[in-house]
C-alpha cells in the first residue's frame, strides 16, 4: 500500500478540521472508523489517502442513548454492540437485525455504524480498479458488462447498488443523520442523506470531503410498531445483499396503520417503496393486499441484461417479509 500518515481525532469537529487541513495542504484525507473497508481499499490502491484521520480515538461517540424524542446512536458504535443492544433489539428490531446481518463477526467487531452506512460500493468493477464513475471516471462498466448484481431501480449513469445493511433499516425507521464538518454540525433526514448517481455519480451521499457522519437520531417507536430486516445472500455469511428488505409496520390489531418498506441491494441508494407503503396503509395483510404490494414493489424496475432475476426476487421478498412480520403478532 501507499504510505500515509495517521492523525488521531479528539472529537468529530477535530476530525473534520484535520481533514480540511490536510486538503488545504494538498493532501488527500480519509476517515477511518473500524477501517475494515478503508484499509482494504488502500491496500488494493483503489484509494490512496495521504492522511488517515482516525475516529476511534474519539471517546463517547459509540453509545445508544434514549432521549424523549427517541434514540440517539453514536456513529462509532460497533455493529456487534449495536446488534446486541437490548433497547434496539426490542424496539428497533430492524436495525439490530440489519447490524447482525453484516459480513462476519470479525468485521462486526470493528466495523462501525457510520462506516457501514458510508462504505463505498462493492461493485466488482470499482473494487477491481476500473476507472468507473465511483473512481472518478466517466463510465459505468456494468452497463455493457457483468451486471448480475447491479441495480434494477434508480440506476444511471452508475448502476452500483448501495451495499449497506443498516442504511435501509435507518431509513425505514425514519432516522435523521447528524453530520459534522469543520464549521459545525448539520442534520439530514436519512431520505435526504443518500444521493442518486444522476445527482453525483462519484459519491453515494451528501457528505463533503471533510465531513463525517457522527450520529443518527431515531424517532420514538409508536405503539404497535414491529420491524424486521431480511437479507438474501449468495452464501450464509460475508456477502452483501442480493436483495434485502427493511420493513417497519405500525399495527392496530391486525390492521396496518402505517408502513415503511426500504430495499437494499437493488438501487444505488437504499430504495424506499412508497407505493407499497400506500397499499398497506389501513389494510389487513391479506393475500390480495400482499399480491398488490408485490406488484407495485417492482412496477418501476428496469433490469439490466443479467439481473432480471432480481425483479421476481424483490417482489417475492417484499411479500414474504411483510407477511411474516404481520403474522408475528
Amino acid at each position: 500500500m501507499k504510505a500515509f500518515t495517521n492523525a488521531n481525532a479528539r472529537d468529530a469537529r477535530h476530525a473534520a478540521t484535520l481533514a480540511r487541513e490536510a486538503r488545504t495542504a494538498g493532501r488527500r484525507a480519509a476517515f477511518a472508523g473500524g477501517g475494515s473497508d478503508l484499509l482494504a481499499l488502500v491496500k488494493d490502491r483503489i484509494v490512496s489517502p495521504d492522511v488517515i484521520v482516525r475516529l476511534t480515538s474519539i471517546t463517547g461517540a459509540d453509545r445508544v442513548e434514549p432521549s424523549p424524542s427517541g434514540l440517539s446512536i453514536g456513529g462509532l458504535i460497533t455493529l456487534d454492540t449495536l446488534s446486541r443492544d437490548q433497547v434496539v433489539r426490542g424496539q428497533y428490531t430492524v436495525l439490530a437485525e440489519a447490524a447482525a446481518a453484516v459480513a462476519t463477526p470479525q468485521i462486526r467487531n470493528v466495523g462501525t455504524l457510520a462506516g457501514n452506512v458510508c462504505q463505498r460500493p462493492w461493485c466488482w468493477y470499482y473494487r477491481n480498479g476500473f476507472p468507473c464513475y465511483k473512481a472518478g471516471g466517466t463510465q459505468c462498466f456494468s452497463v455493457a458488462g457483468e451486471n448480475e448484481f447491479h441495480a434494477i431501480f434508480g440506476g444511471g449513469p452508475s448502476y452500483i447498488v448501495h451495499p449497506s445493511d443498516t442504511a435501509p433499516a435507518l431509513m425505514a425507521l425514519g432516522a435523521t443523520f447528524r453530520i459534522t464538518g469543520p464549521d459545525g454540525d448539520r442534520t439530514r433526514a436519512a431520505a435526504e442523506f443518500f444521493t442518486l448517481p444522476r445527482q453525483n455519480a462519484a459519491t453515494e451521499n451528501v457528505l463533503a470531503a471533510d465531513e463525517v457522519l457522527t450520529a443518527v437520531q431515531i424517532p420514538a417507536a409508536r405503539p404497535g410498531t414491529r420491524s424486521t430486516y431480511r437479507k438474501l445472500m449468495d452464501r450464509e455469511a460475508w456477502t452483501h445483499a442480493v436483495v434485502s428488505a427493511a420493513v417497519v409496520l405500525e399495527m392496530d390489531q391486525d390492521v396496518v396503520r402505517s408502513a415503511r418498506v426500504v430495499l437494499g441491494g437493488v438501487a444505488p441508494i437504499p430504495w424506499r417503496l412508497p407505493a407499497v407503503e400506500q397499499v398497506l396503509a389501513g389494510q389487513q395483510v391479506t393475500d390480495a393486499v400482499l399480491q398488490k404490494a408485490g406488484e407495485v414493489a417492482v412496477a418501476g424496475a428496469r433490469p439490466l441484461s443479467q439481473n432480471a432475476y432480481k425483479v421476481p426476487l424483490t417482489r417475492n421478498l417484499v411479500r414474504r417479509t411483510i407477511r411474516e412480520l404481520a403474522g408475528r403478532g
Binding site: 466488482w124 462498466f141 458488462g145 457483468e146 448480475e148 449468495d234 452464501r235 432475476y309 426476487l313
Partner: protein, 728 residues
C-alpha cells in the same frame, strides 16, 4: 457432524491405528507457534513483489526498469529480458505432470516471465527491495509498453477457426507428443450401439472455474549459500519441488534444499514447484541476499491456478430395461493459456458399459491457468455424467439407486477385478442411513412448496494405487524412535498418520515416535502430497523400516549407550491383474425456496470404503471438509470475467463466494472398513474422494426438489429463479 464406523468381521482391531488421535502439531497450529513460510526470517532478508500483466493477451514491446532500479532500497529486478528460466511444471505437453521426458520435448514452453503475456495476472517483472513498501513502490515505476493482442476467454469459442490464436499451433492443446489432438479413449462400438439401442439420451452440462482457495496464499523464501539454494516454500511434495527446482535452474539436485515446516492447505494448488519459487530463487541470486516473496489473496486466485471449467456433451444409450449400452462424451476443458494438467474428465469408469467413447479437447484461453485441484478431473466430470445418468433414470422411471445398482462398475473397465469391492454396499448402506425411500420425491418437484424438499444421490470409485516412497527410522538407547519422512502436512495429517503407522508397526505408543518431516536435507524421498497417496506409499515404507529395526532389536537386543540403530526402506509394491480403488456413495437432501431462490443442504450422508482407517478423526475431517468444498462448487463459486476487457472480477474469498462455516450442513460420515491386503494395514485413499460426489449429489437433489434439471455450475440463486420462471 456424526460418524460411525462399521468394524468388519475379520478386521482385527489394532492398538494405535484406528483410534481417533489429535494431530501431533495441533497445539502449535492453534496457538500460532507453528512456523509457516511467512514466519521464517533470515538475516538481511529482502522482500519481493511481482508486477502482473493487466492485459489478457499482449506482446511486451519494451520494459524500462531504470526508474525502479534507481529507487533507494531496490536490490534486484527481473523481467523476461534478464531471466530466461523455463518453468517445466508450468506447461507440459499433454499436461503430463511429473514426467521429465515429456517436459524435455515440450515445445509450448512456459518461462518464469513470458512474452507475450497470455492472461491477466501473468508475471511481467519482479522486484526485491529492503521492505514490502519499497518493492511495491518500485513496481509502479516499471514502465511496460504493451502491444495489446486479441484475446479469447470462452473455451468453446477458443476452438473456432476465427478465434485469436494463443499459440502458433492454435488453441487445441497438443498431447504428450506435441500432436494437436483431443484426449481420446474408446472401447467397443458406440455408433453401432446407438443405432440399435432401445433409448438414446443426449444432453449438455457445464462447470465453472473454481479456485482451490486454500487458507495460505503462496509464499517463498529463497537463500543461496554459495551454489547451494535453500527454498522455504509451502509445497505439497518437497522431493518433487527440489527435483523441479534443480531441473529448471540447471543445478544438481543435491544443491537444492526445500523446507516446509508448516503450511496452510494445498488442495492441489501447491504440488511441484511454482513460478513463485523460481522467481524468488532468481531474485535472491541477483540480489545476493535472502528474498521472501508473498502473494496477496487476489494474486493467489488469479496468478496460480484453479479447477478447469468444462462443457460436456453426453450421448447415452440403454436397453429397454435401463441397462447401459453406450456412453459417448464430447467435452471441452478450459486450460487457460498453459497446459499444466491433462484437462480430462473422469466418470465413464463408474459404469459397466461395453461401448464408450470419450473425446475431450483441452482448449487454451486467456484466463487464469487451470490445473490441479483436489481430484483434478473428477468433480466436474462426475457432475456432468452423474447428472446425466440421474436424468436418464428419471426418464426411464427408474429409482436412481436402482439405476446405480444396475449399471455401476463391477470390474475396472469391465475386465480387471478390484482388490476388494464394496461399491454396492456403500450405496445400499447410504440409502439405508439416509432413509432414501422416504426422503426422495417419487415425482420430482411434487413437494407443494413454496419451500420444496428433494433428495439426490451419487457414488464413486477413485484410484488408490501403490508406488515407491521411502522412510528412515532411528532407535536410540533410551528406546526413542525418530522417523524421517519427506512429507509435509497439507491438511490431511501426514505427519501424525505416519507417526501412528510407525507406532503400530513398532508396537510402541505414539509418544515414543518423533517425526521429522518437511526438509529435503533431513528426510528421504517421499512421493508428495498429491493423488491421495502419501499414507499408502510412504506408510508402506514406514512399515518396512519398522520391520527392519524390530529385526535388528530381535537379533542384537536394544542399543546401549551412544549406540543407535538405523533402518531405511524404499519399497515399490505393484499390483498385478488387479485394480485398487476407494469406494463411496453420497446422499443429500436440499430445501429450495422457490420464491427466493435459496438452496439449503439440510442433510448430507456419506458412506466411504477407504480401507482401514489410520486415524478416524482425520478421516472424518477429510470427507466432511471435501463435501463442503464440493457444495461451494455446486452452488456458489465461479471466476467471473469482464468479457470486454478480459479482467477477472471475482479473485478472492469475498467475491468468489467460497463456502463458510455457516454454509456447512450436518454431514454424516460413515466408513466401511476393510483390509484388502495392500497398503499399510489396508489403508486406501481418502483425501480427494470426498469432494468428487458433492456437486452432482446437490444438483440431483435440486432436480428432485423442483423438477428442473440444473445443468450448469454454480447453481446460483439467479439460475434457480430463471429456471423456475417468473411465478405470478
Amino acid at each position: 457432524m456424526s460418524q460411525q464406523n462399521d468394524a468388519r468381521p475379520g478386521l482385527a482391531p489394532l492398538k494405535t491405528l484406528g483410534q481417533p488421535t489429535p494431530r501431533i502439531d495441533a497445539v502449535e497450529r492453534v496457538t500460532g507457534t507453528g512456523r509457516y513460510t511467512r514466519d521464517v526470517v533470515l538475516p538481511g532478508m529482502l522482500f519481493a513483489r511481482v508486477l502482473r500483466s493487466p492485459h489478457p493477451h499482449a506482446r511486451i514491446r519494451s520494459i524500462d526498469t531504470s526508474k525502479a532500479q534507481a529507487l533507494p532500497g531496490v536490490k534486484a529486478i527481473l523481467t523476461h529480458e534478464n531471466c530466461r528460466v523455463v518453468w517445466g511444471a508450468g506447461s507440459i505437453a499433454g499436461g503430463q505432470q511429473y514426467n521429465d521426458e515429456v517436459k524435455k520435448i515440450t515445445t509450448q514452453r512456459r518461462y518464469a516471465f513470458n512474452n507475450p503475456v497470455r492472461f491477466v495476472g501473468e508475471p511481467v517483472a519482479a522486484v526485491a527491495a529492503v521492505d514490502r513498501h519499497v518493492a511495491e513502490e518500485a513496481l509502479s515505476l516499471v514502465a511496460v509498453d504493451y502491444e495489446r493482442l486479441p484475446f479469447v476467454l470462452d473455451m468453446n469459442e477458443a476452438l473456432t477457426p476465427e478465434a485469436p490464436k494463443i499459440w502458433p499451433e492454435g488453441n487445441l492443446s497438443p498431447n504428450n507428443r506435441n500432436e494437436v489432438q483431443p484426449i481420446g479413449a474408446r472401447r467397443g462400438d458406440v455408433a453401432a450401439a446407438l443405432s440399435t439401442a432401445a433409448r438414446v439420451f443426449e444432453d449438455r452440462y457445464t462447470t465453472a472455474f473454481v479456485h482451490n482457495a486454500q487458507m495460505e496464499p503462496r509464499a517463498c523464501l529463497a537463500h543461496w549459500d554459495g551454489d547451494k539454494l535453500t527454498v522455504y516454500t509451502p509445497t505439497g511434495g518437497i522431493a518433487n519441488c527440489r527435483h523441479d527446482m534443480a531441473r529448471d535452474l540447471g543445478i544438481p539436485e543435491d544443491r537444492v534444499r526445500v523446507v516446509v515446516e508448516y503450511m496452510g492447505g494445498n488442495f492441489g494448488n501447491k504440488n511441484q514447484n511454482q513460478d513463485a519459487d523460481l522467481i524468488t530463487a532468481m531474485l535472491a541470486k541477483a540480489a545476493g541476499a535472502p528474498v521472501r516473496l508473498e502473494y496477496s489473496r487476489k494474486e493467489d486466485f488469479i496468478g496460480v491456478h484453479g479447477r478447469w471449467p468444462t462443457t460436456q456433451h453426453y450421448t447415452v444409450a440403454t436397453a429397454a430395461d435401463g441397462t447401459l449400452t453406450a456412453i459417448r462424451l464430447r467435452g471441452v476443458s478450459g486450460m487457460g493459456p498453459y497446459r499444466k494438467n491433462s484437462g480430462t474428465m473422469a466418470g465413464i469408469e463408474l459404469y459397466t458399459c461395453p461401448n464408450t467413447d470419450l473425446s475431450v479437447s483441452p482448449a487454451y484461453t486467456n484466463r487464469t491457468v487451470s490445473a490441479n485441484f483436489r481430484g483434478p478431473e473428477y468433480p466436474q466430470g462426475f457432475f456432468g455424467i452423474q447428472s446425466m445418468m440421474d436424468d436418464v433414470a428419471h426418464q426411464l422411471r427408474i429409482d436412481p439407486v436402482e439405476f446405480a445398482l444396475k449399471n455401476m462398475s463391477r470390474m475396472a473397465r469391465d475386465e480387471t477385478p478390484y482388490t476388494n469391492y464394496t461399491l454396492e454396499e456403500c450405496v445400499r448402506k447410504g440409502a439405508d442411513l439416509f432413509n432414501w425411500a422416504a426422503r426422495r420425491q417419487t415425482t420430482p418437484g411434487s413437494d407443494p412448496g413454496p419451500i420444496k424438499r428433494g433428495a439426490g444421490m451419487t457414488y464413486m470409485l477413485f484410484r488408490s494405487g501403490l508406488g515407491m516412497s521411502s522412510a528412515v527410522l532411528r532407535l536410540d538407547a533410551k528406546g526413542e524412535y525418530t522417523l524421517f519422512v519427506g512429507v509435509t502436512d497439507v491438511g490431511a495429517g501426514a505427519k501424525t498418520t505416519l507417526g501412528l503407522i510407525a507406532a503400530e508397526a513398532l508396537d510402541v505408543p505414539l509418544a515414543k515416535v518423533h517425526v521429522v518431516w518437511g526438509d529435503t536435507d533431513r528426510c528421504p524421498y517421499s512421493v508428495g502430497e498429491s493423488g491421495s497417496r502419501t499414507t499408502i506409499m510412504t506408510g508402506t515404507a514406514v512399515v518396512e523400516a519398522a520391520r527392519d529395526i524390530k529385526k535388528q532389536v530381535a537379533d542384537r537386543g536394544l542399543p546401549a549407550g551412544d549406540q543407535v540403530y538405523l533402518a531405511s526402506a524404499s519399497p515399490s509394491p505393484r499390483l498385478e491383474g488387479q485394480v485398487r480403488a476407494s469406494f463411496g456413495a453420497h446422499f443429500c437432501e436440499v430445501e429450495v425456496d422457490t420464491e427466493l431462490g435459496d438452496v439449503r443442504v439440510t442433510k448430507y450422508t456419506t458412506v466411504h470404503d477407504s480401507g482401514r482407517l489410520m486415524n478416524p478423526l482425520s478421516a472424518k475431517g477429510q470427507i466432511a471438509g471435501a463435501v463442503i468444498q464440493g457444495i461451494g462448487m455446486a452452488l456458489h463459486e465461479d471466476m467471473v470475467y469482464d468479457r470486454r476487457s478480459g479482467q477477472p472480477l471475482t479473485g478472492g474469498y469475498y467475491s468468489a463466494r467460497v463456502a463458510t462455516h455457516l454454509d456447512a450442513p450436518d454431514i454424516e460420515v460413515t466408513f466401511l472398513e476393510n483390509d484388502d491386503g495392500y497398503g499399510p494395514f489396508g489403508a486406501k485413499s481418502i483425501g480427494e474422494s470426498g469432494i468428487i460426489l458433492a456437486p452432482a449429489c446437490v444438483a440431483n437433489a435440486i432436480f428432485n426438489a423442483i423438477g428442473k434439471r440444473m445443468k450448469d455450475t454454480p447453481i446460483t440463486r439467479a439460475r434457480i429463479i430463471d429456471a423456475l420462471g417468473a411465478p405470478a
